[in-house]
Amino acid sequence: MSVKPSTIERTIHVENLARVEGEGALYIKAVGDEITDVQLNIFEPPRFYEAFLRGRSYREVPDITARICGICPVAYQMSSCHALEQAHGVTVGEPLRTLRRLLYCGEWIESHVLHMFMLHLPDFLGYESVVTLAADHKDVVAKALALKKAGNDIVNFIGGREVHPINVRVGGFYRLPSKAKAKALRETLIKNREFAVETIRFMAGLEFPDFEQNYEFVAMKHPNEYPYCEGRIVSSSGIDIPVEAYLNEFEEIHVKHSTALHGRLKDGRTYLVGPLARVNLNFDQLPDSVKEIADEIGFKIPCKNNFKSIIARALETLFAVDHAIDILENYDDTPAPYIQIADKPGIGHGCSEAPRGILYHRYEVDGGGLIKNAVITPPTAQNQPQIEDDLRHFFPSVMEKSEEEATLRCEQLIRNYDPCISCSTHFLKLKVDRST
């Protein structure tokens, strides 16, 4: 008996997308051409940060929230500091705000390079992992590691150590490092700059699935600079709000299959945060040195193919290298490392551009300096419904391929979002059920 294609049921089930931190799985079910279910399950153990921040001193917050992520602790520290400074009615001005941008440059470089070369590139070039990729492309991997290390060096310089920096405090820094160290760091960055340029050309030469979506891009926007910690929250469809209005426009919902809350617009639409959203919404703020190369490789905005987020990461890496070189040229270690803050009750909001997209924090502080309430909305939670939506639209185009190939392409799509290091590693068990 022959079976019409439309009645064939196909299930792709990837049980373990990850290791201990950030555990996830992928489940797709299709009947014929119709996708009936897509779930990116995140079953990472619940961690309760917002709960145990209650009753802690606001001064401890940047040290605690840094621990949410080992790849982007700076993002958590910066969003926390900005929110808590607002709650106390103070603003950190020059030169400290520029040094915060320097710290953030370091985090973007280390995170972007890690994701581009170690996690995402193997998908494009058909390798099982960066280890097997390195066997054929030793030179590229070695240079990538050197560039990543230059990013680590920046975080180390101003933050005290590359993971969970200790030199960040609400109001500024504990101590400013010496000029001599700044000079050495600047030379390291200049040495690695050429590879950052090569990276853009290299990524532009990859083969990209033809997959454009009408995304709602959401990012920060600042009138004078490419965004890090300050500015308004804007979108491709015209949202333009101050950070304080974030919770009026966006919401988090809790679905059964995930311990990560799902972000969405209040009207129910999904949205995309991260490098592609930033580049699309802030292209005019990139320096000429980056724009020229974007032009050379034919990168045009708006780019609606998130597989090309790897190019956006490469552009942002060069931006971060150049920006850091500029900041270090004028570095001065003599100003006061922080501003004084007096305890007072208040509410503050902070938003900064983590490597993976906007990271929103809100705190309520009592008069004794203790936290009454905390809200933290990480980028991956905001992107998760968009990832599922992408999979729903993308899966039909790979349905006819072998199980291995179809799964690989779906994983590659998930990695477009750089969800977190453990979600992006290459080991998967796949279960496909076919019933006719």
Binding site: V20, E21, P45, P46, R47, F48, Y49, E50, A51, F52, R54, R56, S57, E60, D63, I64, R67, G70, G160, R161, V163, H164, I166, N167, R169, Y174, R175, E252, I253, H254, V255, K256, T259, L261
Partner: protein
């Protein structure tokens, strides 16, 4: 998990869900040496703060549908469930110490990781003591070495990413902090951060909390 046996198993993260409590037993069986890396696996980490709280309330604070959340009431060190051959401290760990542990296990010798306090590293670095000179509370005298006395080098007190050192005199240090003006609730918070569930931090922290409540 791919079936073993493995020579060395490196475990990160605390045990905080029923599924993890089962899995760690299997991991132990498959590994000749089991090494925990980092504060979470070694002390329960920052998540262990829920051990002092009502977890049902925590679920309600963070999640709109708490009934979907499956979690143990405590976040515990791996050693609370299985035998651990070596515990590597730190949040984050010191990468050179990690290399030393692996090298030593391969060579069949004991890892050479100092168990002395941060205070000693700080003296060797030639720092001016933040506690003596500025009255800043510092956990350096009772914290396991390994960071190179990073925080005091930057002019701030140690907050014990590496947890208690061997024979840490936590009670004596806290008494000194109290005498020099640190409040009891602040002392409780100092002890209960990234390694608060390890002794003697737990015991002394609990004592100060009782005193703070009674006052």
């Amino acid at each position: 998990m791919e079936p073993g046996p493995y020579d060395i198993g490196l475990v990160e993260g605390s045990i905080s869900t029923p599924e993890e409590a089962e899995r760690i037993v299997q991991v132990r069986k498959e590994c000749r040496f089991l090494v925990t890396i980092g504060a979470c696996a070694t002390s329960g980490g920052i998540q262990a703060l829920k051990n002092w709280a009502d977890v049902e309330e925590y679920k309600r604070i963070v999640y709109a549908s708490p009934q979907y959340i499956d979690t143990l009431d405590t976040a515990s060190p791996v050693a609370a469930f299985v035998l651990v051959d070596f515990e590597l401290r730190g949040c984050p760990v010191n990468k050179y110490q990690l290399v030393e542990v692996i090298t030593a296990l391969i060579a069949g010798r004991r890892p050479q990781i100092a168990t002395s306090p941060v205070c000693l590293e700080c003296k060797r670095a030639g720092n001016v003591c933040v506690m003596v000179a500025e009255g800043t509370p510092c956990l350096g005298p009772i914290t396991h070495a390994g960071c190179g006395a990073l925080c005091p080098t930057y002019g701030r007190g140690c907050y014990s990413c590496f947890g208690p050192s061997e024979s840490a005199a936590a009670e004596a240090l806290c008494a000194h902090c109290e005498k020099t003006g640190t409040s009891k609730p602040t002392i409780v918070r100092m002890l209960r951060s990234f390694n608060g569930y390890l002794e003697p931090f737990k015991q002394v922290g609990d004592k100060y909390e009782r005193q703070a409540v009674n006052n």
